[in-house]
Symmetry: C2
Subunit: 298 residues, 2 copies
């Protein structure tokens, strides 16, 4: 049985206000057979839209190119303003391996697309995350430092450490684009049985990587609809799984005399992350994909 | 997008020793396009083979008919002996709705197949489980009382309460077959952190339906490889879910000072049972099928 190969891509473009422009760009992302836009959401304050595309690798790459070309045509970075940091009309494009695709293959897709975008559209491209060519480009915020305006000035000043991986060391009105590959990201919020946001903040500090907690976890404490919330991004659920994060949050919460009221996902979760949780909680040491009925259907 | 309809069937036939006969019958089950044998296992002591077939409803029904015909040809119940209770060459055939098929439709498939088997093969058929026409035929053990020999004698004595739902009230060498519909069954064993089998037996009594425990749970306590095991069948995981059974076993075990070492599935588990467990343990109150990435792929 020949297995279908599936990648996801989550391009972010710098327009979240003009409905006609948003629709034209989403349509471009959705214009290729074999790739499908399954979600898109725009934030007017951020002036930004996030698109989720799934499909066969070649089709998704082609769809991304079409979307990037359309955004370059319709967005002028000299005029674009919004709360969210950005350096380009199409700001960032991560490839995410989903099914029968390795991370190495996703990295190659990112490099190939970066090359094509620079050559055919003249847009400077930076490789990031698993596709990064230098350690200081693994993290998006470092590439995006100073945003469009700051990057433009640095390139004009000839600062070589800011030169792109592909394309000219100079920004046009479409700015620059960051392309890369990463594991699926899980955006995950846990609501506590308290309205004391200071507890959520303490728990966030305890569990997140940056302050000594679990690797691949970003976290902050918020007050949402009158309830303390630990808001998290899980950057690699295969290494730092949802259940372990949850149980550490639960233990830290108990130390402050509170519990977990409920939890929610923002966006999509890979099915395997849920199956991993079931396996751990139920202690099914020997569960295999073959043990799941649906894996025997086409 | 037209959704494929999938049923599972788990026919049991009364041969677990002669490899050539087993293979011929499994081949018959596997001879229809659109239905596929995904598992079969034979037990020589039981002298019985369990086959798992999945596919489109019509194709699975046809495959079942072919398998039942072949077993009737190759197995002589006047000679067959084994540890497992049985009344026919093909002993029992449950239909299990898997995807885009309702239980009512599975019941109809069972009735249609029962009618065809009785008419074309002359084999008496009893309807059981959700397809039962009488309350006393919901449970297999009651239909199978006295096994092939006892049923044969009762029918010869003209006992009307034992007459089949379809076909002649009289057994030939193929015996009788029980056909029905049921939800997916999960065979689930929990190993305790003790070798004291009396604790496993006490827990089994506490959690099983027959002695006052959870509905849709059958359980017994065993000693398996030097470790106490609570061995269970979960007859309807949508009503009595795996996680609730597990947590009740855990609580009862704690009362005797022991814990759960690990758990195992025997055979296949429907994916939804694992996703339900993840949702419960992670407290993901608002998880929907749309929230799972794979459900957006074809």
């Amino acid at each position: 049985m020949k297995q279908k190969r599936i990648v996801e891509a989550v391009p972010n473009f710098s327009e979240g206000r003009r409905p006609d422009v948003i629709q034209a760009i989403v349509d471009a992302y959705n214009s290729v057979d074999g790739a499908r836009v399954i979600d898109h959401s725009s934030d007017p304050d951020h002036n930004r839209t996030v698109v989720t595309i799934v499909g066969e690798p070649e089709a998704v790459s082609e769809a991304l190119f079409q979307g990037i070309a359309k955004a370059a045509e319709l967005i002028d970075m000299d005029e674009q303003r919004g709360e969210h940091p950005r350096i380009g009309a199409t700001d960032v494009v991560p490839f995410v391996p989903i099914k029968n695709v390795t991370m190495d293959e996703a990295v190659q897709l990112a490099r190939d697309l970066a090359k094509r975008v620079s050559e055919e559209l003249g847009i400077p491209v930076y490789l990031y995350a698993k596709a990064a060519t230098r350690p200081d480009r693994e993290v998006l915020s470092k590439i995006r430092k100073g945003e469009y305006e700051g990057l433009k000035a640095d390139l004009e000043a000839g600062k070589e450490e800011r030169f792109p991986d592909f394309g000219p060391p100079k920004l046009g009105k479409a700015g620059a684009t960051v392309i890369g590959a990463r594991p699926p990201l899980i955006a995950y919020n846990i609501y506590l049985t308290t309205d004391d946001v200071s507890i959520a903040k303490k728990i966030a500090r305890a569990v997140r990587h940056s302050s000594g907690g679990l690797r691949y976890v970003q976290a902050m404490g918020l007050l949402v609809e009158g309830r303390a919330q630990v808001s998290m991004n899980l950057l690699d659920y295969t290494k730092t799984p949802v259940f372990r994060v949850t149980e550490l949050v639960r233990r830290e919460a108990a130390r402050y005399g509170v519990g977990i009221k409920s939890a929610e996902l923002v966006g999509l979760i890979p099915q395997q992350a849920l199956i991993d949780a079931a396996q751990w909680y139920l202690q099914l040491d020997n569960l295999t994909p073959e043990g799941i009925l649906e894996n025997h259907l086409e």
